[in-house]
Symmetry: C2
Subunit: 377 residues, 2 copies
């Protein structure tokens, strides 16, 4: 099992991740508290899609004291967006709605450029704009959402990154990211840029505004650097809330663009979606009769997990489906057909929202935001 | 003897530097060639203040073929400018005049910020503007001079630096600069920014424009990175022409702001100049009678070297002074009085030019240059 920000593969033991990274489990107390603000517990909390955190309690304490906080998440624009990317974004939108929070969304086009010799800067930027459509298609409030492209906004980002970088030794960066002597000097500096958005609101507002980062658990190490540096800059340590990965349609591992046939991209057409789902690995038996006799393993089945993590909001129904699978009362083909329909509908709706977002993206980038607000930074 | 871009101390064996760095001595052939373009050999060439190079012959070959080249030099704005800084600038102005060459002048305010925890970004930028006055006071042609502040021009600089950085491994950066695990990740990335100006003209003009860097020999390692990367970006390797250090007024070592009493700053008043020179270490005997008997050592004497490297253009006169010193026919007090007058006059004139430059600086920065030229980069 390898979990780093660069590579995630194999079966994932999430409890072990909590122990290894030193994060805290989302306790029933915290869940109850979150439910109170929202008037009910979001599906991704009930299902423990989000399952771990750092300092979420402090964020809620501050909120109770009347202090706002900001949300920060991001994306490395290496290709088209897929369903797996949407999990943290959907939940982030929920948090934005519940807490009326501003969202800083970072596109790390510089990082992608630095680690791929095939990519041009123009291509990296183009992917940022493509991916930005997917972000806004999730339904974020344009009045409260600020998009950052590290390349487009390089001036501000570099100047703030060096404020962070002078507190981060090579030794720390190596320990956190596993950099080697063969790593390039750009990617070694990059963690400083990734830390910047944690502090932007505090910088612009000239007072400490806490930051909560919803992201997949493999991103946790990045924020160790931001958390180490925060007190030296006079800011709160960024808090985090961590989610699981959406599995790909193959056997094991998170959904990953590097295996496109096991991915549902937001730009896929209905036929491709159907083909990919029909070809998916499942938790079912190897023959129908074996499946009927011994039942399936829904916890290992991406098809079931899409229902569980993303599509079936009704807890009773999802429980029933799990039982039926375990008892061999529903066949993989049936499940696949149901999920294929849901995915197609979901992607169709997403694509509509994506097109509607096309006109608004440009105005949401950090430079335009600062222009509108008359902030020079 | 330690010579790195970060620290220069002790007696300096320039021949050894040529061997160690693997540069080439400025041969009589090359000097003659340079003299032909200029209609005579500049004092700093006659006196071998500039004594080493890389690929200067290729630059001159290209020039003979009708191709222009650009000049690039710079300054780490850590404090006020002193006489030692002016040596390469004065010669760079000469090259600009002779070859009608464009000059890119980089202020590495980001580097200074990264290595000093006392410095704020605002202070670092302010030093850039102060130092820019000194640069323009040397007499560069404002029509052909582009000033770069890494902080002010961070957007363009970061985006171009990552193009370089992805070709530079940590291993190379460590070998060249001696970075350690305790080095911060910003300073490790910085060499990529320092390489950028070598290629800016080629980028803006969309064709390969060769670059010649006049600088003190201790800066040579920086350009190893730019030279390694140049062919990968499709550009000529930057050529270099290297000078000696101006000694400080103490015993041994180059003039360094860290020992202000051994420095002549361009902002010093006449009284301070006189005091510092009168207190200077010299190559004279320890008593007057010893000096009269055994004579002085002009090669170790900063007072003589100021005449030799900077002030006395007449070769016969400077030779005569050297002889008189060696024979004990002139006392240190006399030399000091002569040089003090020359330094005061020089600084006074420089300060006038410095004030005249105040109105022009703003327009010379890279962003303004690109605006005027309508270049988006």
């Amino acid at each position: 099992m390898v979990v780093t920000p660069w590579e995630v593969s194999g079966e994932i033991d999430y409890e072990k991740l909590i122990r290894e990274f030193g994060t805290k489990p989302l306790t029933d107390d915290l869940l109850e508290r979150l439910g109170r603000y929202a008037g009910g517990l979001h599906m991704m909390l009930r299902r423990r899609v989000f399952f771990s955190h750092r300092d979420l309690d402090l964020i809620l304490d501050a909120y109770d004291d009347g202090r706002e906080f900001i949300l920060y998440t991001g994306r490395g624009p290496s290709g088209q967006t897929h369903l797996g990317h949407l999990i943290p974004w959907i939940f982030t939108k929920h948090l934005q709605d519940v807490f009326s929070a501003k969202l800083y969304f970072q596109f790390t086009d510089d990082e992608k450029f630095l680690i791929s010799h095939e990519l041009t800067r123009e291509k990296a930027m183009a992917l940022t704009y493509e991916n930005a459509l997917d972000v806004m298609a999730v339904g974020f409030d344009p009045e409260r959402t600020i998009l950052i492209s590290n390349m487009r906004n390089a001036g501000l980002m570099y100047n703030r990154a060096i404020e962070i970088a002078r507190h981060v030794t090579l030794s720390t960066a190596k320990a956190v990211f596993g950099f080697k002597d063969s790593s390039n000097i750009g990617i070694i500096f990059f963690p400083a840029l990734q830390a910047v958005p944690c502090f932007l609101e505090s910088i612009f507002e000239e007072r400490d505004v806490p930051c909560l980062i919803p992201a997949a658990i493999d991103q946790d190490p990045y924020w160790r650097i931001a958390r180490d540096v925060a007190p030296k800059l006079g800011f709160s340590k960024p808090a985090q809330i961590h989610c699981r990965f959406l599995p790909g349609l193959g056997k094991g591992g998170k959904m990953s663009s590097s295996m496109p046939e096991t991915c549902i991209f937001t730009t896929d057409d209905p036929k491709s979606i159907e083909r990919k789902i029909m070809n998916a690995f499942t938790g079912g038996g190897s023959t129908i009769s074996e499946h009927r006799e011994r039942g399936g393993r829904p916890q290992e089945c991406p098809i079931f997990l899409y229902e569980y993590l993303l599509f079936e909001e009704d807890d009773a129904k999802v429980g029933e489906l799990m039982d039926k699978c375990r008892r061999g009362e529903i066949l993989c083909g049936e499940c696949k057909a149901i999920v294929a329909e849901k995915v197609k509908r979901f992607i169709e709706r997403h694509q509509e929202m994506r097109e509607r977002a096309r006109g608004m993206i440009e105005d949401l980038f950090l430079d335009r935001y600062l222009e509108r607000r008359g902030i020079r930074a």
